[in-house]
C-alpha cells in the first residue's frame, strides 16, 4: 500500500517535471516565433515606408501634374489663384460647401472680381476642401474647387464668373452637393468650353487642393472660413473673432479697399469703421 502510493507520487513528480520541461520548450519556441514574425512584419512596414517615400520623391510636381505651362494666374508656391495686378492684395479663403463663404461671396464676390479685372487689386483665391465630410461622401468641396482651378488654368477670364455661379447655386451642408454634371453645366453657362469641362472628372488638382488647405490653415493663419485678408491683415478667418469689416453689407469692402488704394493703411480703415 505504502509502496504503491510512493510509486504513484514518483510517477506524478516525473509527469510534473515532463510538463514543466514541455512548457519551457514551448516558451522557447513561442519566443522564436515572436522574434521571426515581428521582424518580418517590421521589415515589411519599413519596406513599405521606404517604397512610398521613394515613389513620392519620384512623383511629378503635384501642383502641375500634366507638366504643361501654368498660366500666370495660378501661383503654386502659395497655392493660390491670382487675378489682377493691383498693389492692394486681397486674399480670400473659402470652401465651396461653407455657407458663410457663400453669403460673403454673394455680397462682395462680384465687386472683388471687378476690381481685380481693373487691376485695382490683386485678388488671390485660396480654394479649400476641409468640408469634404459635409457632402455625404461625394466630396463636393474637392470637386467644386477642382472645377474652379481647372477653369482658372484653362480659361482664367471665366473662373470668377464660374465661382459666382457656384455660390449662387450653393448646395446645403450635408447634402450630396452639386453633381458633376451640374458643375459642368454651370461652367458652360458662363462660357467655359467643353474641352475644359471634360477635364473636371479627372480631379487633376486634388493634391493641389489638399496642399492649399494645409497651407492656409498653417502658414496662412486661417482658423475657419470664410477667410479674408487685405494686405496681409486678417479681416475674417478666426473662429472666435467677429469680422473686422462688415462683409455682409454690399459696398463696405469696396469702400474700404478704395481708401486703402488711396493711401490709408488697412488698420486705419478698420479702426475708422469700428469708430463709426
Amino acid at each position: 500500500m505504502a509502496k504503491k502510493s510512493a510509486a504513484k507520487s514518483a510517477a506524478d513528480r516525473r509527469a510534473k517535471i515532463a510538463a514543466l520541461e514541455a512548457e519551457q520548450k514551448a516558451k522557447k519556441r513561442v519566443k522564436t516565433i515572436i522574434i521571426v514574425v515581428v521582424s518580418l512584419l517590421l521589415a515589411t512596414i519599413i519596406g513599405v515606408i521606404i517604397f512610398v517615400a521613394l515613389q513620392n520623391s519620384a512623383k511629378p510636381d503635384p501642383t502641375n501634374p500634366s507638366g504643361e505651362t501654368i498660366p500666370a494666374q495660378v501661383d503654386n508656391s502659395q497655392y493660390q489663384i491670382v487675378f489682377g495686378s493691383g498693389a492692394t492684395i486681397v486674399d480670400v479663403y473659402f470652401d465651396f460647401m461653407c455657407p458663410g463663404c457663400g453669403s460673403v461671396e454673394r455680397t462682395i464676390g462680384e465687386d472683388l472680381a471687378k476690381m481685380a479685372a481693373e487691376d485695382q487689386i490683386t485678388l488671390r483665391m485660396h480654394p479649400l476642401s476641409f468640408l469634404d465630410s459635409l457632402s455625404q461622401e461625394t466630396r463636393y468641396s474637392t470637386r467644386a474647387a477642382n472645377a474652379f482651378i481647372t477653369v482658372a488654368m484653362n480659361e482664367p477670364d471665366k473662373a470668377l464668373d464660374f465661382a459666382q455661379m457656384l455660390w449662387n447655386d450653393q448646395p446645403e451642408e450635408n447634402s450630396t452637393g452639386l453633381s458633376d454634371e451640374y458643375l459642368v453645366s454651370d461652367a458652360q453657362y458662363v462660357g467655359v468650353s467643353a474641352e475644359t469641362t471634360d477635364k473636371f472628372a479627372a480631379l487633376e488638382y486634388e493634391d493641389w487642393i489638399v496642399a492649399s488647405t494645409e497651407e492656409s490653415f498653417t502658414s496662412g493663419g486661417i482658423e475657419s472660413t470664410p477667410g479674408l485678408k487685405i494686405n496681409g491683415v486678417l479681416i475674417a478667418g478666426k473662429s472666435e473673432e467677429p469680422y473686422k469689416l462688415d462683409l455682409q453689407t454690399p459696398g463696405i469692402v469696396v469702400e474700404a479697399l478704395e481708401q486703402v488704394i488711396a493711401g490709408k493703411t488697412i488698420e486705419q480703415v478698420i479702426a475708422e469703421a469700428a469708430g463709426e
Binding site: I34, L41, V48, F130, D132, S133
Partner: protein, 205 residues
C-alpha cells in the same frame, strides 16, 4: 528550471498586468476626452478645422462628422469617458491588493469585449468607408487593444471566465508560454501595416 523568471514570468505578475492596464486605460481616457472635447467644439462651429486635421486623409473632422462617429446619437468617445474610469478603478484597486469576485471580472470582460469590437468596427469604417484616419481615434484603438489584452490575460490567469476546466487550463498554458503576447503583437503590427500601405504616401510623403 526558472519558470517564474524573465519577461514571460514578469508578464504573469499582478504589478505588470495591472500597471500596464492602468497606463493603457489612462491613455484611452485622455484620447476619449480630446475626441469628446473636439466633437463639442466642432458642433459649436462646423466651419473650422481642428488641430488634428493634418490632411484630408489624416483628419479628425472627416471621421468625427461621419454617422459612424455618432452611432448611438452622441459622440462615441463619450463611451470611453464612461468606461475607462471603471478600468482605471479596477487596475488601481488590484494594484493595491483587492481581488474582485469572479462574476464582477466576467462582467468587466464582457463589457470591454463589446468596447473592443466597437473600436475595431470603427477602425474598419474609417479605413474602408470614410477613407480617413483620425490620430486620436487610432490612439483609442491602440489603448483599447492593450486594455483588452491585459484584462483578458488576467481573467484567463485567474480563471474568472467560468470556462470548462480543460479549456481554462489550455488558455492558461498559452498565456504562460506567451502565445497571447504573440497574438497582440501580430494584431497591432498588422494594423500598422494596413495604415502604412494605405496612407503611407500621405504620412511620409
Amino acid at each position: 528550471m526558472d519558470t517564474a523568471g524573465g519577461f514571460l514570468g514578469l508578464r504573469q505578475k499582478n504589478a505588470w498586468i495591472f500597471g500596464f492596464m492602468l497606463f493603457s486605460s489612462c491613455v484611452s481616457l485622455v484620447a476619449s476626452f480630446v475626441l469628446s472635447y473636439d466633437a463639442l467644439e466642432w458642433a459649436a462651429n462646423p466651419n473650422q478645422l481642428l488641430p488634428c486635421d493634418i490632411s484630408s486623409t489624416l483628419s479628425c473632422t472627416a471621421v468625427g462628422t461621419s454617422w459612424q462617429a455618432h452611432l448611438f446619437g452622441f459622440p462615441n468617445s463619450f463611451l470611453g469617458l464612461v468606461a475607462e474610469p471603471v478600468v482605471i478603478t479596477i487596475a488601481v484597486a488590484s494594484l493595491a491588493g483587492v481581488r474582485f469576485p469572479r462574476g464582477f471580472m466576467l462582467a468587466a470582460q464582457v463589457v470591454y469585449t463589446l468596447g473592443f469590437i466597437f473600436a475595431y468596427w470603427l477602425f474598419a469604417q474609417a479605413y474602408f468607408a470614410i477613407n480617413a484616419l483620425c490620430p486620436w481615434c487610432l490612439l483609442v484603438s491602440l489603448s483599447t487593444t492593450l486594455v483588452f489584452s491585459t484584462l483578458t490575460h488576467v481573467n484567463i490567469r485567474d480563471g474568472n471566465l467560468f470556462l470548462p476546466e480543460g479549456i481554462s487550463a489550455k488558455l492558461q498554458w498559452a498565456c504562460r508560454v506567451g502565445i497571447d503576447l504573440l497574438i497582440v503583437l501580430v494584431w497591432l503590427l498588422t494594423v500598422v501595416l494596413m495604415i502604412v500601405v494605405k496612407y503611407g504616401s500621405t504620412i511620409f510623403g
